[in-house]
């Protein structure tokens, strides 16, 4: 893996996502920033895709079960050429192809509509199962949130998947410790979620969710296993915007809450330029 390129992609995703959300004046900043590194590893190293042919049969699939973090995914898709970068600024405008939550019907490169928590990961299992029984080796990835894991539907999927032999399936948990109302630990603690997944029959690993090399290694390890993979990404909500990291109220920002974003973006752009 070209580590510098993937790190650049992660930073670029953060810049584009923050830029589009702040220009629009609303967006799920915290989670979009916490998954940027995982998205960068997927689109910068692991996944097979063709931006000119989004429905390419040999593609790998990503289902963003935490669909509210669409801006991070849209940024990756735009950077990789699925649509022009300028289009990112149309988010949530009338007629846009980029609603705040991921939408299969609208956006090139999105294979599943998500936004209702718990729903996407079960759809991802179905994709993996259908690909497996057709003898295909396409990978299916799904990113879920730690708050999302309070949904019963997530556990329905976690319980059944290992019994269906879907080794082409990797679930990544964005364990950023926060949800809309408060810290997950205060509301409904997940406990040792890696161990829980392992007990359910997954090949389960925990990694630093902001270390692209560690994420990549975890994916490789899961792919080598004969079980579906579960990667617990230890992340920080709002990662990359120091004033918003790990603080209450960073789930979604609106209007004045974006104060200071221009300075953050300027610093990020300088950092990106220095990496070239």
């Amino acid at each position: 893996m070209n580590v510098n390129e993937v790190k650049k992609l992660a930073l670029d995703i953060r810049i584009e996502a923050l830029n589009m959300m702040s220009k629009h004046g609303f967006g799920h900043v915290g989670g979009s920033l916490s998954i940027a590194d995982a998205i960068a590893v997927l689109y910068g190293e692991q996944m097979k895709y063709d931006p000119q042919n989004p429905k390419w049969e040999a593609r790998d699939y990503l289902v963003l079960s935490k669909g509210h973090c669409g801006p991070a995914l849209y940024s990756a898709l735009a950077i990789k050429g699925f649509f022009p970068r300028e289009e990112l600024l149309t988010i949530n405008e009338i007629g846009t192809r980029l609603p705040s939550h991921a939408d299969k019907n609208l956006t090139p490169g999105i294979d599943m509509t998500t936004g209702s928590l718990g729903q996407g990961v079960s759809c991802a299992l179905g994709m993996a199962l259908a690909l497996k029984i057709q003898g295909k080796d396409n990978m299916v990835y799904s990113i879920i949130g730690d708050g999302e894991a309070q949904e019963g539907q997530v556990w329905e999927t976690l319980l059944i998947a290992p019994n269906k032999g879907v080794k082409n399936f990797i679930v990544m948990l964005d364990n950023n410790k926060q949800q809309l109302d408060d810290f997950v630990e205060k509301i409904s603690p997940l406990g040792d979620v890696r161990k829980k997944a392992e007990d359910f029959g997954w090949h389960a690993v925990t990694v630093d969710g902001h270390d692209v090399e560690a994420i990549n290694a975890a994916i490789e390890e899961c792919k080598a296993s004969d079980k579906p993979g579960f990667i617990n990404l230890e992340t920080v909500k709002g990662k990359g915007w120091p004033a918003k990291e790990g603080v209450n109220g960073n789930h979604a920002l609106r209007g004045p809450a974006f104060e200071g974003v221009e300075e953050v973006l300027e610093n990020m752009r300088k950092e990106l330029a220095a990496m070239n």
């Binding site: 759809c123 991802a124 299992l125 179905g126 199962l129 259908a130 690909l131 029984i133 999927t157």
Partner: protein, 310 residues
């Protein structure tokens, strides 16, 4: 009138199997529900296309939608409330909005689960699913229509909900290709039109015989497709007979009665008498008693129509 009777679930399972064995895209999903839905032959002959997921109706629709994205046509059957009300939001997002090619069959509709009580009745199933745009809803009225409806459902590309009620299904009509969205003129008449759907139609037709014996000229329209509903035949009936009666084993609130009122109010306002399940909770009991309580037995239907025509 006596009809040849069929095991409804066996007819369902065997018909799906007959179609599936000629194709390579149909898969059967089960939530602890397929063997008892009449699919034993399918499971025995096509084990590679059968997926037992366990009791997880929410994720089951997601799994089906995901399989549809990858080119499969999932068929899933279970008790109606667990296939409609429980995973309703995923029915909307996964099947409706994304228009995924999955087929959901709600069985034991109406009061069929008599002794299991209100948790198991299917009295609001098509009323709910009807609120999701672009989902085809089928409620076949007899064995012939069930066979035709299953074939049409599997040929159609998109989400379909099929309603199945009784254990024993009469063969009332001759077999013919099922046309989605088309109502059938079963009998023509002048005084009143009775619009009927689903398997309660056998009682409707018995009531029609009683009405004819009393000298009433009855027009009878079967509506085995609830959505998209055949608006034309409803409006035509309203214009022809002035008065309409609907018969269904479903809440009249949100059911066929409501649909017919919506259509006539806009197109041809007429009096509508809705015969069906009253909007309340009805506890467990023998099936025939509950049908009678709701006025859905032939004599009660006949009496309601006579009262309406006064």
């Amino acid at each position: 009138m006596s009809y040849e009777m069929f095991d409804a679930k066996k007819l369902l399972g065997d018909t799906v199997y007959e179609v599936a064995k000629e194709r390579n895209d149909i898969v059967l999903l089960s939530t602890d529900s397929a063997p008892r839905s009449g699919f034993t032959t399918f499971i025995e002959k096509m084990p590679e296309a059968y997926y037992e997921l366990g009791i997880m109706e929410q994720a089951a629709i997601g799994v089906g939608a995901g399989m549809a994205v990858a080119g499969k046509v999932p068929v899933w059957c279970g008790p109606a409330p667990f296939c409609t009300a429980r995973p309703f939001e995923f029915f909307k997002v996964d099947l409706g909005y994304m228009h995924q090619n999955m087929k959901v069959i709600g069985r034991n509709c109406g009061f069929n689960y008599a002794d299991l009580g209100p948790t198991h009745y299917g009295l609001e199933d098509y009323g709910l699913v009807r609120m999701i745009p672009d989902v085809v809803i089928l409620a076949p009225q007899d064995a012939s229509e069930l066979k035709g409806a299953i074939k049409a459902m599997l040929d159609y590309v998109g989400p379909v909900y099929l309603r199945l009620s009784t254990a024993k299904l009469p063969k009332i009509f001759e077999e013919k290709p099922f046309e989605i969205g088309k109502g059938n003129l079963i009998e023509d008449g002048e005084d009143v039109t009775i619009l009927t759907t689903g398997e309660i139609t056998v009682n409707t037709l018995a009531a029609v015989e009683l009405l004819k014996a009393k000298g009433v000229s009855v027009r009878v329209v079967g509506l085995p497709t609830i959505s998209p509903i055949d608006t034309d035949i409803i409006v035509e009936s309203a214009k022809k007979t002035g008065r309409l009666v609907t018969v269904e084993e479903h809440f009249t609130v949100g059911g066929l009665g409501t649909i017919v009122e919506e259509i006539t109010a806009e197109n041809c306002p007429v009096k509508v008498k809705k015969i069906g399940v009253p909007f309340t909770y009805i506890s467990a009991g023998p099936y025939d008693d509950m049908i009678q309580y709701c006025g859905l037995d032939p004599e009660s239907i006949c009496n309601s129509v006579m009262e309406f025509l006064k």
